[in-house]
Amino acid sequence: MSDPSSDYAKPLPELDGHTEDFYTFCGLGELRFQRCDDCGAWRHVPRELCPECGSWSWQWARSSGRGSVFTWTVVTRALHPAFAESVPYAPTVIELEEGVRLLSEVVDCTPDALEIGMPVEVVFERATPEVALPKFRRVSA
């Protein structure tokens, strides 16, 4: 839940279990995903075991934070009141170098400048003292 002392009014993740870990690393400036100890497969969102090989053994492995734009939508009419002031904005799927995809946003780019395949790298946006959101900015190819 959001910190009552903060002005941040958009929805926040529930900090619980693996999701708490994911966002805690973001707060430290690290984008980490689960990586299977046995087959090496990366995964997102967090799961209890490796759907590729069935292993229960995994670690929070650090991503390079580099990836590219896979697809996006441009929200021009907010369907949630917390985003009414934000339109137009573009929820964007980023494909990381490690192969996992993450729904996020490219922060230094207007929606009409987005392109599929555009190279990006992670930046972290502090929302509350507990939560930082992984977002992305453009990098030259």
Binding site: P13, T73, L79, L103
Partner: protein
């Protein structure tokens, strides 16, 4: 199981927006259900199976109101909008196996005058299988509602295959055209051109306002029994030739699919055709769950009416309109008739196969196909014949 079960009764309330139905969600479902039971020539006491729509209906409550005092089989298939068509298959299996004799599949809601899905879905983590994932990984980034989820796939399709807005528009225009032949349709008397479509405001680019289904009040229901029992009932039965359902992988998370166009229907369609013993060329009309235009295009591809990537050209030139090669959503669909949770697609297929579709009747309609789509891409399909 081919042809061993059939639909013997259909019921619907009126569909409306302003000023709303003036009825409760429960009352809408009961009115539609009572209509279907009566049309089937049955009494409520003979209904011994009920398959309510996920989250909006409870079998116990429906049975207690209707007088279904012999209820034996109650089950809900949690596939969102794919549930009713998935329930057809389950109901068929239930009656053939003797788990129930007559199964009611009811649905209905105040989709207009009650809470709007586009607003509630983001706060109700129980309403969709990926609810907590959406809350923790989508919502903080502003992806809050179904048109936004699916438009991610629509854009990718445009990128990979060159699909254009005008092609999505051809779907919206076809549904609207069909609604002009359907007095029950909320958009009856309100025609729309491709120019109107292109001029409608963007909502979740590439989805415009007219790419999105209606939000309406209303209910609908069907009754399923065995072919043998159907012989004693008043209407000519509509036979369930084959049905199947399936889920994308993973079904609870929309961005990490190796192949993002592989949805539930991709798995379900070949199974349904194999069970029915027919191919896509045998289908006279299709009722395709049309929550948004691109989902129609995508389902036409995954059912196999055209190859993947060819859906754009396929929907152009009137091919999916009445009089075309494959009339789609002859009642106007969710886009232009009403959003009765997908059951309206089944009731319209029944009307077509009974020859009761009046001004929108597909000539010599013998075999029809109905799909459902729900949650993050769950799919169901049924092939029906007269």
């Amino acid at each position: 199981m081919r042809d061993q079960a059939c639909i013997v009764g259909i019921g619907e309330t009126e569909y409306c927006r302003k000023p709303g139905s003036g009825m409760s969600t429960l009352a809408l479902q009961l009115k539609a259900a009572a209509g279907a039971i009566e049309e089937a020539g049955l009494s409520a006491a003979s209904i011994d199976g009920i398959m309510p729509f996920p989250n909006v209906g409870k079998a116990e409550e429906l049975a207690a109101n209707l007088g279904c005092e012999n209820l034996r089989y109650a089950a809900t298939i949690h596939m969102g909008g794919a549930a009713p068509v998935a329930s057809l298959q389950a109901a068929a299996a239930a009656v053939v196996a003797g788990m129930a004799n007559y199964v009611l599949i009811p649905g209905g809601w105040n989709g207009y005058s009650g809470p709007r899905v586009r607003q509630t879905v983001s706060s109700d983590t129980a309403s969709i299988p990926g609810g907590t994932i959406a809350r923790d990984y989508y919502l903080p980034f502003g992806m809050t509602a179904p048109p936004q989820w699916y438009s991610l796939m629509a854009r990718r399709h445009m990128h990979e295959f060159g699909t254009r807005s005008e092609q999505l528009g051809a779907i919206a225009v076809a549904m609207r055209k069909h609604a002009q032949q359907n007095p029950r349709a909320v958009m009856h008397g309100r025609p729309m051109t491709l120019d109107d479509y292109m001029a409608s405001p963007m909502l979740a680019d590439p989805y415009r306002f007219f790419d999105c289904c209606l939000e309406t009040d209303g209910g609908s229901a069907v009754v399923v029994t065995t072919a043998e029992r159907a012989r004693d009932l008043p209407h000519s039965p509509v036979y369930i030739m084959g049905g199947a359902c399936g889920q994308p992988y993973p079904a609870d998370e929309i961005t990490n699919r190796r192949d993002i166009f592989r949805t539930g229907l991709t798995i379900a369609a070949p199974e349904a055709f194999a069970k029915a013993g027919v191919t896509p060329t045998d289908i006279d009309f299709a009722q395709i769950y049309d929550c948004f235009t691109f989902e129609v295009l995508q389902q036409l591809e995954e059912v196999g009416f055209c190859k993947r990537g060819e859906g754009g050209p396929f929907v152009e030139g009137g091919r999916i309109e009445l009089g075309g090669e494959l009339p789609v959503n002859t009642h106007g669909g969710l886009l232009s008739e009403a959003h009765s949770l997908g059951i309206g697609h089944i009731t319209e297929a029944v009307r077509q196969l009974r020859g009761e579709a009046e001004g929108r009747q597909v000539a010599n309609a013998e075999i029809g196909l109905v799909t459902g789509w729900g949650d993050f891409g769950d799919g169901s399909v049924a092939i029906l014949r007269r």
